[in-house]
Subunit: 211 residues, 2 copies
């Protein structure tokens, strides 16, 4: 059955072409500023064709968001595999998030925006994205649990909750909107200082002080 396989491959390839074209546009402009017609033009297809591959604009956007989440997941997994103390794993994951924000600022921006009220939870991709991002958070939670076990992380707060707090903090510190970055600069700080100092700020909220 080589033929139907080839067709499957070609369909997948076309889907990827659409995603690539849409990604280029969504990376350069925000969601509302990119139209389906434009994306169709970019990939040299008719707009209606896009709807054969994606349910709607949200779903197309979400599929690109998923690409970003996969990359983050990969980074988190690598941190978890390191043979170090729990607190260090958490630190590594913080650094991984930072690194991700440097290497893929547009993916981060898109993930962040997808979390906003703009996107309905009815969208079928929302579950998948929630699950993907959730996987990252679970890896972080496991690291926190490991840290509690080896005594490097305070154990008076539930590891799930702690992982939520950290994920939300990382996300919102690192994916800060351009317009608010100006506030930081107006106070004489670079964005690098802003993020770097954050990690120093948050550390006592995690680490164990018993001894």
């Amino acid at each position: 059955m080589g033929i139907s396989e080839r067709r499957q491959r070609e369909k997948e390839k076309r889907r990827t072409e659409i995603l690539d074209a849409a990604e280029r546009l969504f990376f350069s402009r925000n969601y509302e500023a990119v139209s389906m017609d434009e994306i169709a033009q970019e990939v040299e297809l008719n707009k209606a064709t896009l709807y054969l591959y994606f349910k709607n604009k949200e779903a197309l956007y979400a599929s690109i968001v998923l690409r970003g989440i996969e990359i983050l997941k990969e980074k988190y997994s690598e941190c978890m595999e390191k043979d170090v103390l729990g607190i260090e794993k958490v630190t590594l994951m913080g650094q991984a998030y930072y690194q991700f924000s440097k290497e893929h600022p547009d993916y981060l921006r898109m993930i962040h925006f997808y979390g906003s009220e703009r996107f309905s939870k009815e969208n079928p991709c929302t579950a998948e994205i929630g699950q993907g991002y959730g996987t990252c958070r679970q890896i972080l939670r496991d690291a926190i649990q490991a840290g509690m076990n080896d005594g490097t992380i305070r154990s008076d707060i539930d590891p799930f909750l702690t992982s939520m707090y950290l994920m939300i903090s990382f996300m919102n510190i690192l994916s800060m909107e351009e317009k608010w970055k100006l506030v930081i600069e107006a106070e004489g700080f670079t964005f690098e200082q802003f993020t770097h100092e954050f990690f120093r700020f948050i550390t006592p909220a995690i680490s164990c002080n018993n001894q």
Copy 2:
């Protein structure tokens, strides 16, 4: 000149009527789901009339956001006036934010969404909102500075940066999207536990441990 004053009052009153109508709709549905035609219907005016009072939809939305920010500013000011130690002032402001999120969840939601990339920084209201929210943050920073002076808050991180970290954290913990709240509930926590534990989580990041 009583007549022109009356006209001014009437114009202001109409503006308020429009804002009230728009608020009712924006409180019940999200930004994209509310149309200018609907708002016009709600306030029993022609759509074009709205544009006599507000530059565009963004500006109308922003004016409602400003209402919310004023309330928050008021709460923060009250906290600052209390004659307590710096760390307690900060705690009070955290509680004030929490209280605000309980009393005005829709204002909080709107403020939060206004911070997203959906809204251009070109909008004239963005500056005003930034300034208003900035005022809240400055009050918090002053409280942090007071805490550093009286030795209750760690002084190895810049008070401006600390105030930024806290404001961002408060905002994003408290204005969590419904779809992500489900994750918390799925783990067996209520949203109240989630927020309450956050304050316990973050405290060591602020307080001084020198003695």
